[in-house]
């Protein structure tokens, strides 16, 4: 490795890392929070078979899963201003990433909700609990515990997908790599360096997932 290249890499690393920490991670956390909220709502509506709204949920999932994330980003950031809806790049990215991942997460959560035995609901009814209370105290905690590994997967996927936000001018980790590359033209080394930083982030997330799973364990330490 030449001295020049080494200099470029050591200079760019803290810059990329900074944008990773200051932009990529907040973008991931906010998008994931939005995704989880929407996914829970959509999953519960389908689980409870709420007429009318349920069809709207199916429609939303159909559209969102059936179109590319990149195209969705373009529609929201470059397209919506045409009809007078102008959003900054960062909120656009949060909304698109969040709503996109929510469609997948809603299906995950719906699946785990339905995997909770109907007897749990019946037992709740029989001790005088209402549906919302049974959901809150009994069904959702069990479903979310089952969903935890899959939801962690979604979060890891989302962290990497934030790099797409570079295409709508969000100055995040990958966009920073592009900018530096534009000045020094070392694409192989710089993009590998960016990839490494993503890898570090994802490794930390994976580690957190394992810790989380261990902490949640399963009730009484026996797998069901």
């Amino acid at each position: 490795m030449t001295e020049r290249l080494w200099g470029i890499l050591t200079d760019s690393f803290p810059k990329m890392l900074e944008y990773g920490i200051k932009v990529t991670i907040p973008l991931t956390i906010l998008s994931f929070a939005l995704a989880l909220t929407v996914a829970l709502g959509v999953a519960l509506i389908q689980y409870a078979r709420v007429k009318g709204i349920r069809q709207i949920c199916r429609f939303y999932i159909w559209i969102t899963r059936g179109t590319p994330l990149l195209v969705q980003l373009y529609i929201v950031f470059y397209g919506l201003p045409k009809i007078g809806i102008v959003l900054d790049a960062f909120p656009s990215a949060v909304i698109v990433l969040g709503l996109n991942e929510a469609a997948y997460m809603a299906e995950t959560i719906r699946g785990t909700l339905e995997s909770v035995s109907a007897g749990q609901l019946e037992a709740g009814y029989c001790v005088g609990m209402s549906w919302p209370k049974i959901m809150w105290h009994v069904v959702l905690p069990q479903a979310m515990r089952t969903a935890f590994p899959a939801l962690s997967n979604s979060m890891i996927a989302m962290l990497k997908e934030t790099s797409m936000a570079a295409t709508i001018t969000v100055m995040e980790l990958f966009r920073q790599a592009q900018v530096i590359n534009g000045r020094v033209y070392e694409p192989l080394a710089l993009y590998i360096e960016a990839a490494l930083i993503y890898l570090i982030f994802c490794t930390i997330l994976t580690w957190l997932q394992h810790r989380g799973e261990k902490k949640l364990g399963s009730y009484g330490g026996v797998r069901t």
Binding site: G128, M129, V222
Partner: protein, 246 residues
């Protein structure tokens, strides 16, 4: 009369599961519901607590009449507060400890404060001999222990009647005794019970009334002594002969 059940009918698709079931239950009665598998016993019990919706039929509970086909959510909730249900496969809340399983209905269903609920739960768990497992989860208990906790949960809400749906059918033979002992004690304390069961000893010695069902119909309802010693119906005589030959 505490409970008057009249003409309960239920079809699943083309299959008639309940074809006009009627039953009277007095306060303190322990009624055993017997009959071959598929005779509709469990469906009958589930209809009484609106876990299944009957096609028609009514129930008068403490003088208040409930339509088993269509009743408002609020009325169902009110009725369920007077009753309790013990399931064949226990249905303990898997994410709750033994203690929480009993308190949850009290705090969240009946609005009791936590301290008081815990005191009640402890008392009930002592009655069923499970007070030493308060912090265990259902998965850490044997079937018999789980069912005893389920009975404590049912008793805790101070119901006027407890419905038992084959409470010992899922248990290892060695564990049946401990559950039956708890139920016998409950009966001796005067609890009104409606028990779907295959336990003939329980039906003969603990219950005071037996209803025999087959094909969705009541074949015979009689005081248990009379049912076992001098049944009126030929079908019941045949049933008694068969179980005595075991």
């Amino acid at each position: 009369m505490m409970l008057e059940i009249r003409d309960v009918k239920k079809r699943f698709g083309g299959l008639t599961v309940l074809d006009g079931i009627s039953l009277d239950v007095e306060k303190g009665d322990v009624v055993a519901v017997l009959g071959p598998s598929g005779s509709g016993k469990t469906t009958f019990l589930r209809c009484l607590n609106y876990l299944e919706t009957a096609d028609s039929g009514s129930m008068t509970f403490d003088g208040e009449k409930f339509d088993l086909h269509s009743t408002g959510k609020r009325e169902i909730a009110r009725l369920r507060r007077k009753t309790a249900f013990v399931f064949q496969n226990y249905n303990l809340f898997l994410n709750k400890t033994v203690l929480q399983n009993v308190t949850l209905g009290l705090t969240s269903g009946m609005g009791m404060d936590k301290k008081k609920a815990e005191a009640v739960a402890l008392e009930m768990l002592e009655k069923v001999g499970m007070a030493d497992k308060l912090q265990n989860y259902p998965n850490q208990l044997s079937g018999g222990q789980q069912q005893r906790v389920a009975i404590a949960r049912a008793m805790a809400t101070k119901p006027e009647i407890i419905y038992f749906d084959e409470p010992t059918s899922a248990l290892d033979p060695e564990l049946i005794g401990e559950v039956l002992a708890v139920m016998r004690k409950l009966a001796e304390d005067g609890m009104t019970m409606l028990v779907v069961t295959h336990e003939m000893d329980f039906a003969r010695n603990v219950s005071n009334k037996v209803m025999f069902m087959e094909g969705g119909k009541v074949v015979e309802t009689a005081p248990s002594k009379q049912f076992f010693e001098n049944p009126a119906e030929e079908r019941v005589k045949e049933f008694i002969r068969k179980i005595q030959n075991l």
